[in-house]
Amino acid sequence: MPRVFFATDLHGSEVCWKKFLNAAKFYGADILICGGDMTGKAIVPVVSENGHFSVALGGERQTVPAEQVAEIENNIRRKGYYPLRMSVERLHELDQDAGKRAACFQEVMLEGVERWMGMAAEKLHGTGVRVFVCPGNDDELEVDEVVRRSDFVELGEGRLVDIDGFSMISTGWSNPTPWKTHREDSEEELAQRIDAMASQVPDQSRAIFNLHCPPYKSGLDEAPAIDADLKLLHGGRALRPVGSTAVRAAIEKHQPLLSLHGHIHESKGAIKIGKTLSINPGSAYEEGMLMGAVIQLDAKKGIKSYQLVNG
């Protein structure tokens, strides 16, 4: 029976993606599922001038010779940021023009995803391991096409797929967030999106709901409270449930065997909602740590065991 490794919210961390691919061998997993939000949140300009490169990382600006740039770029990728070499003029242009900045972001993100797809094929092709990716609300819609083009990695979004007799449905769409990201639905629309897939599942007792957004008030969805200005309240100690009521209703209605979530990095946990085991492994991509869940599926028991790990 398949052993699943699930991780999510890698946010551009190349170290985490490499660990994700290596998790198959490390945990003996047959199925790798990346739950969404693959792409990074920031571009770090590596500015070329006078034969040197200058970069500001962690609040400190440093100037390095050309031969050290690759190391700096690796360090930037490790944190989930995109290093981008550019001239001072290009830096100025991007700083001034939001449109060009957005286009630049899309270019580096799609290039990054394409590179990741290539790495997956190179590492795991022929091993029998299946890799699923379902872009999340922070991933632009164009990411899907890049994944679709991969001849190895399988796109999960909006599909019902069979995993050795278990059915998995996936969506990276979330309920509305204060950031107005790329894949946000109203709760009603999200419910329809999930139900359209869930209704095709032949046997809910062998179903996996891979839904990026966690269920509301599940303990997997507790995020620091913020005000309208996106400022953390009460020293960041006050938590609020921000999950989706549609996701919760879908789980309560269909009672799948397993539901996999992400989205709220701080809200790591595993809980039961009725018969369903719901997991959010959390994310610590900035540390280069891959938080994940190893789930051993079983023909009779459904889930033989599960474990949250910090790889």
Partner: protein, 551 residues
């Protein structure tokens, strides 16, 4: 060429896109309030300092300042750990990831879970002596006061504390944070009033007021002020001038101060939930100012107390009270714990004002005590998610999101120990060790910090503190060694002080030794049982924190 179009300083360090979780940093003041409460000047500080008469040769002010400097290293150590691994669980997560799952579980669970059972009755005792009793005496409710001094009354007080902390956990931190802020500002106003009373009154005014209220509220006759000093001296207190200084005894006072000054990092178990925590400055300054503002206020309150009440009276009153309580000595004229707030209130000849002052200053208790189990529930959650504890330990209710599993694990043992506290006074030495065991937990975390750059090089190198080095040695290692030396000194004194100065010397308090050895054994047993049970389920607990190879 370059800087003609855009100066280096004006260049953007990075371009951010619109993405979930990109928030503006939390207010340092908000986090400061939490840290300030942790080293609670009134609730913990006044109570903790009432024991320093046991070391009269130690200059209290010097000891407080040295303690502050050394605890600052603890603050730096924890701030650095927060910035490397800002994850929920704090001590448990850091120890597990650096020292290993088993040692991490045993060391942190004994401190953050088992030892906090003891703090419920300790808090109840403080609630009694700082709130119920002075309020009852001031209002002339003698029966109420008598009840709360009885064993049943002490147990009821424990139940009130447990009910209060359970309600806070149920309400959630957002609601309690609002309550805390109100308590903070009103409590500060109360402290200003106390300081004002002490500032503008002379020592003669205080003596007259004390004698008047001792007679009015407690039925004492004659010069109660002098009688209190005489009883304190008779109890063994050897008076020294407030400015008396001898280096060695200064350090021996520090384990008493740990009761309140060692906790500016209390909220570190929660920083993992804060996205801004990776910025070392925020957690550092929050904890730093929490510690040092408190120290500043302690110095102010002490100086004013010495000026108006008298240093000899302050210590003698405590000596007389504890001599009566523990050794059956003569009862002091004011037959309750010498609460400086109550004494300051005596300066106003109005019982309603005095009661109001006690009520207002009681907010220092209610603004802080509610967080008693908050960190514990986080640690229990983390252990449950690691499958060391059963999954039900992390269950929360659907409606109000009450973590009932963790609450049961905290409250049931606390109830048992509260009963022990109330009805078995000879077992109370165990409770004196509550500070020491938490210090041991901090020491384990500090050891993790010291070896972090080598043991988890991957995490360290990726962190913002990787560039902080002194003579090539990682700064976290250096501050960790200093912190460890400080903690080891106090642990040594608590455990082996030949005079049993702190009431915790191993050879004199075998009950405590047995109790705490038992807690470590229980923690080891839980981990070992979990290890084999999980192995039978196909789960290898040892791999939780194993790093996946990158290449």
């Amino acid at each position: 060429m370059a800087d003609t179009t855009m100066g280096t300083a004006a260049r953007p360090a990075l371009f951010l896109r619109n993405a979930t979780g990109l928030v503006k940093a939390w207010s340092t003041f908000d986090a400061f309030v939490y840290s300030f409460w942790s080293v609670n000047l009134v609730t913990l500080g006044l109570y903790g300092m009432s024991f320093v008469y046991w070391q009269p040769d130690g200059n209290l002010l010097a000891s407080i300042l040295i303690f502050g400097v050394l605890t600052t290293f603890l603050v730096v150590t924890y701030a650095m750990l927060v910035s490397v691994m800002p994850r929920t669980g704090g001590d448990y997560a850091w120890q597990s990831r650096v020292l290993g799952g088993g040692p991490g579980f045993v060391l942190s669970i004994t401190g953050w879970w088992f030892t906090l059972f003891l703090w419920a009755p300790i808090y109840a005792n403080i609630l009694n002596v700082q709130f119920f009793l002075p309020l009852a005496y001031t209002l002339g409710w003698k029966d109420v006061a008598t009840f709360f001094t009885s064993q049943v009354g002490v147990f009821v007080s424990c139940l009130i504390v447990l009910a209060f902390v359970s309600v806070v956990v149920t309400l959630g931190m957002e609601t309690y944070a609002r309550i805390q802020k109100i308590c903070f500002w009103v409590g500060i106003v109360g402290l200003v009033v106390v300081c004002g009373l002490l500032l503008f009154a002379s020592q003669q005014d205080f003596q007259n007021a004390f004698n008047r209220e001792a007679a009015s509220l407690f039925g004492a006759s004659g010069n109660a002020y002098q009688t209190t000093i005489d009883l304190g001296t008779k109890a063994g207190y050897a008076p020294h001038d407030f400015s008396y200084f001898a280096l060695g005894p200064v350090f021996l006072v520090m384990p008493f101060l740990a009761f309140y000054l060692l906790w500016p990092n209390w909220g570190a178990t929660l920083y993992g939930e804060v996205r801004g925590a990776k910025d070392i400055r925020k957690p550092f300054w929050s904890m730093f100012w929490g510690l040092w503002v408190t120290i500043g206020l302690v110095v102010l309150v002490l100086v004013l107390t010495v000026k108006t009440m008298g240093w000899t009276f302050y210590n003698a009153a405590n000596a007389a009270w504890f001599n009566n309580l523990y050794y059956g000595g003569d009862a002091p004229p004011v037959a309750t714990w010498p609460y400086p707030v109550m004494f300051a209130g005596f300066l106003v000849d109005n019982h309603l004002f005095q009661a109001l002052l006690i009520l207002v200053m009681g907010l220092w208790f209610f603004g802080w005590a509610g967080t008693l189990f908050l960190s514990s529930t986080r640690v229990i959650f983390a252990a449950a998610f690691d499958r060391v504890l059963p999954s039900w330990a992390a269950n929360i209710s659907t409606g109000r999101r009450v973590p009932y599993g963790a609450l049961i694990l905290m409250i049931v043992p606390s109830l048992v120990l509260s009963a022990v506290w109330a009805f078995k006074p000879d077992f109370q030495a165990v409770f004196l060790d509550a500070t020491a065991v938490l210090a041991l937990t901090f020491l384990a975390t500090t050891v993790a910090a010291i070896i972090l750059p080598w043991r988890r090089k991957d995490l360290y190198d990726a962190s913002p503190i990787a560039s902080y080095k002194v003579a090539g040695i990682p700064a976290i290692t250096i501050v960790g060694v200093i912190t460890a030396a400080f903690l080891v000194f106090m642990l040594w004194e608590w455990s082996f002080n030949p005079d049993n100065l702190y009431g915790t010397t191993f050879s004199k308090t075998l009950n405590s030794v047995y109790y705490f050895v038992a807690t470590y054994v229980v923690a080891i047993v839980i981990y070992v049982v979990a290890y084999f049970v999980r192995r039978n389920q196909g789960i290898d607990l040892s791999r939780i924190h194993h790093e996946i190879p990158v290449e």
